[in-house]
Amino acid sequence: MTKTLLYIRLRQFNREANSLGFYLPVFIAMAAILAFVTYWQYKHNQQAWLIVILLSGICLAIQYNRKDKAFIYKQLEKPHLQLFLEYLVLTLPFSITSIVSKNWFCFPLLLLALACIPFLKFQFKHRAVFKNLSSLIPASNYEWISGLRKQYIPFISLFLFAVAFSWVRIFPLFLLWFITIMMSSFFLENEPVHILRAGNKTARKFLSDKIKINIQYILILYSLPVIINAIFVQEFLIITLLFIPVQLALVSFAICLKYSSYKPNTNLLGNNIAFSIIAMLSAVPYFLPVAAIFAIVYFFKAEKNLKKYLHD
């Protein structure tokens, strides 16, 4: 049973990896870099045990949110062992290297934490927060309503921090950039076709309207901290001025990326990685236009794909 489950997970991983397409090598490179960074931390940093907390936290979040818990506990033999092995395989590249460092105790510590997590069987039932959100955001922008409900705590916190520190160099822009990345995750879920068709729009009109409304939201949301930042941090004015168009391009890219691979009723978790890579590149000075270029390229791909669902 354990072998079967791990085999199934491997096949699921392969499927996700294949969906990444040409982003796969970048994803592997990033994972390798991350594994090396954790190794370096174990070797040189006294506080490397924080990595154990981080890895345990990630596994705890997975345990908290996963939807197959009822099935696993009811149907599998030794479900706790199965779940433990899953979390172990997931964290191994970022933990095993601690054994050959002065922080060797991190690995058994992680094993202990991972062994406890499968015993936490809580079943999370989402509750509707902000029930009147559709009076503020039209229901046709369901991605925002859904996304804000999922991530309102980090979203509002980051925004308030950005406003509070808007007079500081770079820092508020970094927070807003993080909000943009969070916003892109609003576009990882594919709606059913009847929602897509609700507005009776052509593919191009649908895409341009979606991009326009999101641009409006970003402008409304970011204008206050960015204007304050531009006033107080004159020496970085050029960065502040370039920041907004890059964020608009990033969100446009997130929308186009979603609809370029749209299939009704599915999730596009692979897009998260693709978006993160472009988002990171767009923070590097020479690569600023990357997001805009990708947004344009993917707009046409998205239009072509949507025609299958929106045109007679």
């Binding site: 509707a128 369901y142 879920e189 045109h311």
Partner: protein, 228 residues
């Protein structure tokens, strides 16, 4: 008249619908029955323009059927995560001017302020049905609408379908349970292996069960009685 002409659909070389040619009178309730894999859902998907046929066409009074002509209630209902029933309904423009949510809620009793993911299967079906009714398309396609509904809502759904007929709408409805179809349909069409093989008028309805399950019943009775 809705005319289906030489309609074929294939998946991976397997022909699911085989050059179907049939006419459906408008303003009637048409039941579509068939055993599993007969092609009912594929036919509905083509009718609702969710799927492009390999060949053939569907015409309504000599013009091609468009996306805007039909409202489709699918067998499995998908929504968007973390939105409430109210928000879901607001996504759809009210093109049916007579649609009265308050009046329908008297019978549907949906917790519209709650997140849809916390709804039961029957509640999700009812919500999807409300969205379909909110739109005033001339053709309603209901794929297994009775699945997951309680007895009371089953009866209400029958009343809704008959009301749609009164309003001159054309309704296509499929069901694995024959009984409700016998009450609401004007005609029932039998789909077998991707072809419509017979159309029953109301007077012929008693024959359906024998035609549909006759062979299966004879074979299965013998095999099952030995197997258990």
């Amino acid at each position: 008249m809705i005319n289906v002409q030489n309609l074929s659909v294939s998946f991976d070389g397997h022909e699911v619908l085989k050059k179907i040619t049939i006419g459906f009178e408008e303003g009637l309730v048409h039941g579509i029955v068939g055993l599993n894999g007969a092609g009912k859902t594929t036919f509905f998907n083509v009718l609702a323009k969710m799927l492009k046929p390999g060949s053939g066409e569907i015409m309504q009074n000599s013009r091609a059927l468009t996306i805007k002509d039909s409202a489709y209630l699918e067998t499995s209902n998908f929504f968007f995560s973390r939105i409430t029933g109210n928000e879901y309904l607001k996504i759809f423009k009210q093109t049916n001017t007579e649609f009265n949510l308050v009046a329908l809620q008297e019978y549907f009793k949906l917790p519209l302020d709650e997140l849809i993911e916390n709804y039961s299967t029957g509640m999700k079906k009812k919500l999807a049905l409300l969205a379909v009714l909110k739109q005033g398309q001339p053709i309603f396609i209901l794929d297994e609408p009775f699945n997951g509904l309680d007895l009371e809502t089953n009866k209400i759904l029958e009343i809704i379908i008959l009301s749609l007929k009164q309003k001159q709408k054309t309704v296509f409805v499929s069901s694995h349970i024959i009984d409700p179809l016998l009450t609401i349909c004007d005609k029932i069409h039998l789909l077998e292996n991707g072809c419509f093989v017979k159309t029953y008028l109301q007077a012929d309805f008693p024959e359906i069960e024998a035609d549909l399950f006759g062979r299966l019943k004879a074979e299965a009775t013998e095999v099952i009685s030995k197997a258990i």
